[in-house]
């Protein structure tokens, strides 16, 4: 029978991952459906809710934002600091699901789960987030843009590793926005998710969700990037739309967000 553990330190959590097939638990909003469907049958569930080092959102010298791995989406939305300093991330967090999901879903969980339809991931890519990760051999930093997202639900995180925090460089007043396009219900996954940051020189960085097996990052001059984003997308036909529709919407939504940011 699966065991349940509630470690109180990062080291204890890492130790727990070292024996058998152990799975980390944040808010369990993505995990429980996998357990119910028997897509995961772990030997142990390791809940991170009691590890104080993983809590909290802080700003450090220079304006970088450090988000603890078990900070919730509601913590992000409720933070005036995040709203002012990282408005794109703030908007993405607020777009997720419904208040019950946001109350418990963790930032670290979203990063590790790597569902390409999630709202947060495109925003984190555009924000050039880096992770601090703890494992049996100590800690390392991982930049999301360095190929962290490898494929569907697949990341560069080892089975014996725990995300400690997510660091976002200060946004430095870049014009930025997040938009989720969903013809479906408000709490559904987006059909197309677009995170955009525009530089003073008109260059644009675009993060895309829902249109490939992993979140995508595209850069280019503002006037071309919507087309580049469309060409980079590799969506599938599903209940949220046909591949052709999603690809067309990538261009439309990206263009729309850029117009909003540059006017």
């Amino acid at each position: 029978m699966t065991e349940f553990h509630a470690p109180t330190t990062v080291d204890e959590a890492v130790d727990r991952l070292g024996s058998g097939h152990a799975v980390l638990v944040g808010g369990s909003t993505s995990l429980t459906p996998l357990l119910r469907e028997r897509l995961l049958e772990p030997d142990a569930l390791v809940w991170l809710g009691r590890v104080p080092e993983l809590w909290g959102i802080t700003t450090v010298d220079g304006g970088d934002l450090i988000v603890g791995a078990t900070a919730t989406l509601a913590d992000l939305v409720g933070s005036a600091t995040v709203r002012a300093g990282q408005p794109m991330l703030w908007a993405a967090a607020g777009a997720v699901g419904n208040p019950r999901v946001r109350a418990v879903a963790t930032v670290g969980g979203a990063v590790a789960h790597a569902d390409p339809r999630q709202d947060l991931l495109p925003a984190l890519l555009v924000a050039d987030a880096t992770l601090t990760v703890a494992g049996p051999d100590g800690r390392r930093t991982v930049r999301l843009r360095d190929g962290f997202y490898r494929g569907l639900l697949e990341t560069g995180l080892g089975d014996d590793e725990v995300i400690v925090s997510v660091r976002l460089p200060a946004a430095d007043g870049h014009a930025e926005a997040y938009e989720r396009f969903t013809p479906g219900s408000r709490e559904d996954f987006p059909t197309v998710a677009v995170a955009v940051r525009v530089g003073a020189d008109g260059s644009a960085t675009v993060g895309l969700g829902g249109v490939a097996s992993r979140p995508l990052l595209v850069t280019g001059p503002g006037r071309d990037v919507a087309g580049t984003a469309r060409d980079a997308a590799a969506p599938i036909d599903d209940e949220r739309g046909s591949a052709a529709y999603k690809r067309a919407m990538v261009e439309v939504i990206t263009r729309r967000v850029l117009e909003r940011l540059t006017n």
């Binding site: 638990v25 208040p99 709490e187």
Partner: protein, 148 residues
């Protein structure tokens, strides 16, 4: 494993499977006001409060509420009777299936001191699906309950 928490203000100690969801455990105590609907955290009928936070009990692992304060529709209807009265008085319920979840959501909204503004109420209730009312009367009910 042993689980010890407070349910609607009363201490509860139960033996649970480590993978049990909170809704299973709550209903196992006889508090069947909380329902399991979609099992995916989307419909809202499983909504409860855990340490004042609204939570989908169909997804939340029961083991995670050890030592926590859990409130369900039964308890919240007593803490916020004006919410129930408003739902009745302003036709915020028809078949009743979504009602336990609406009561919990509305009480959560009021207890959090959130503003008496229609767009905000509507946004907060977006996680509570209703097939009967078209939502307008529910929103109207919640706004009325925020008066007191």
């Amino acid at each position: 494993m042993k689980l010890s928490f407070r349910l609607n203000g009363m201490p509860v100690v139960v033996d649970i499977a480590p993978t049990a969801t909170l809704v299973e455990v709550i209903r196992g105590t006889g508090a069947t006001g909380t329902k399991e609907g979609c099992g995916a955290g989307v419909c809202g009928v499983c909504g409860v409060l855990v340490d004042d936070r609204p939570v989908s009990s169909c997804l939340y692992l029961a083991a995670c509420v050890d030592g926590a304060d859990v409130w369900t529709v039964e308890g919240l209807a007593t803490r916020c009777p004006e919410v129930v009265a408003a739902l009745v008085g302003h036709e915020g319920m028809q078949c009743g299936i979504c009602t336990p979840g609406q009561v919990v959501a509305a009480c959560a909204y009021k207890l959090a001191g959130l503003p008496k503004r229609e767009p905000d109420v509507r946004e907060f209730l977006n996680g509570n699906l209703c097939r009967c009312t078209g939502y307008a009367t529910i929103v109207r009910s919640v706004l009325a309950a925020l008066d007191d």
